[in-house]
């Protein structure tokens, strides 16, 4: 679980995660936003369904894959959060059309 330093600026953006409102700080990535919001996993694996959370935060491990604005398998740690973004946690195998 992570928290923002008191002087690190306010979370002024609003996004949704699985339909629920979450506050985000401009400049954060999607993965950082999920961690700050206390969301303990961002996907379940296609092989065993095990929960996973961001691991490397630099684009190499692909653990932070989420659905962003309807597009699946996006690397949450590489994508800056934008106001109004709709993020969904990703479950198991990728679905067609996503």
């Amino acid at each position: 679980m992570f928290q923002r330093l008191p002087d690190a600026g306010d979370a002024t953006l609003s996004i949704t995660v699985d339909g629920k409102p979450v506050k985000a700080r401009a400049g954060d990535t999607v993965a950082a936003t999920l961690l700050a919001a206390g969301i303990d996993h961002c996907r379940t694996t296609p092989v065993s369904g095990a929960p996973r959370a961001p691991y490397c935060m630099m684009g190499v491990c692909f653990e932070c894959l989420v659905v962003i604005d309807g597009v699946g398998n996006r690397q949450g740690c590489l994508i800056p959060v934008r106001d109004g973004m709709a993020v969904e946690t990703q479950h198991g195998k990728r679905e067609l059309e996503r």
């Binding site: 095990a50 929960p51 691991y55 490397c56 692909f62 653990e63």
Partner: protein
Amino acid sequence: MSGAPELRDSYDVAIIGAGPAGMAAATICAGAGLSTVLFDEQPAPGGQIYRAVGETPVRRPAVLGNDYWYGERLVHALRASAAHHVPGATVWSLSRDREIGVSIDGAARLVQARRVIIATGALERPFPIPSWTLPGVMTAGAAQILLKSSGMIPHGRTVLAGSGPLLWLLAWQYLNAGAKLDAILDTTPRANRKTAWPHAAAFLLSPYFRKGLRLLLSVRRRVRVIADVSDLRAEGDGKLQTIVYRVGDGAETRLPADTLLLHQGVVPNVNLAMSVGIEHRWDEEQLCWTPVVDGFGGTAVDGIAIAGDGAGIAGAWAAEERGKLAALAAVRALKPDARRDLLPDEARVRLALAQVERGRLFLDRLYRPADRFRLPEGDTLVCRCEEVSARQVVETVALGCTGPNQMKSFLRCGMGPCQGRLCGLTVTELIARARGVSPAEVGHYRLRPPVKPITLGELAALPKSEVAIKAVVRG
């Protein structure tokens, strides 16, 4: 300049990765009048070491330390140059004739360059302990990125575990930021001191020595450090709840925890360079693959050089100097009449490089990770993507697999989205041990483009040549 200008179809020099090596190289090439593009996957220049240095929300400079803020100089110089820095750009292919496939904001492009400098840096060495895939377990590097780019620190019970300078640097930065650390589990084997000692004299002259010592003492005064950790695993139902460790031959100790941050050194990020067919050799000191390069980072592939930690781990300051050398070679090849006063002096660069590389062998040997933590056993996952265990990998050797590429077709190990970045070294070393041969003989995964996932839609939308269309259209 950043983002604003339209991407061209061709450049004199294309540089991949905007860490210290890439930023230094781009600034020099552009300064010499070469058209220069700098592709980087991250939203801002800096690489991981100077991550978000222009825009970090961490207000107090003392939290991250002077060595971090030094990166501002490189970012300013880059921004003041005519180099075209393209953030959010994922390079997914590089051909031997230097055509680069890059994806920007969901659209793929092909860009041609006369010279390419690969500056893709390092990534953290895999740390495959039991249940390292549990949410709540992440790398120390990841935690440091959260601090630098988002001003975030862990709350709850936090434990750092592993070995190497970054682990101590993160602990120091966390303490500066007011974070509470429950413990540091130091997995550095005690026997390393003996092999490192003969090289201590060189390290005493390294600029890293005094800084490192001060930092180490400062952390040790304020955090419980448990040395000689010989065994480590994570446990939890759906997320990390307990860390179980053993000191030496002692009994198991259970430590309740919410966050476990792992680190045991960094290794070159070789995927792009290997996919072009650049030769890599097994480095027995650094226990990783290192590309074969000349004194300017040049490779056997015409016009492609590698600079920075991707050419062998030597740290941020060395990366900057190696970026300058690769840039000098590019300028000399493409613009031999460039004004000399616009270029760094080669002799001075080499002197600076020698100074910061001094004592590297001491660090490599002192922090050489234990076999126990590189070569997992039993059900411990090696491949996080495809969930393949150490036992499964070793079993394929009994079936006659001599290397990772045959093993892949049995297990899909290494074929997930990370493309072997988090399992490659572990697999090579496991097979080598099972066969009783050196990792050099076993080899690495055969890497092919695209080296990063790209959608079929993006590929299909690329411009096509007449020849390419004729090759697939009937009649």
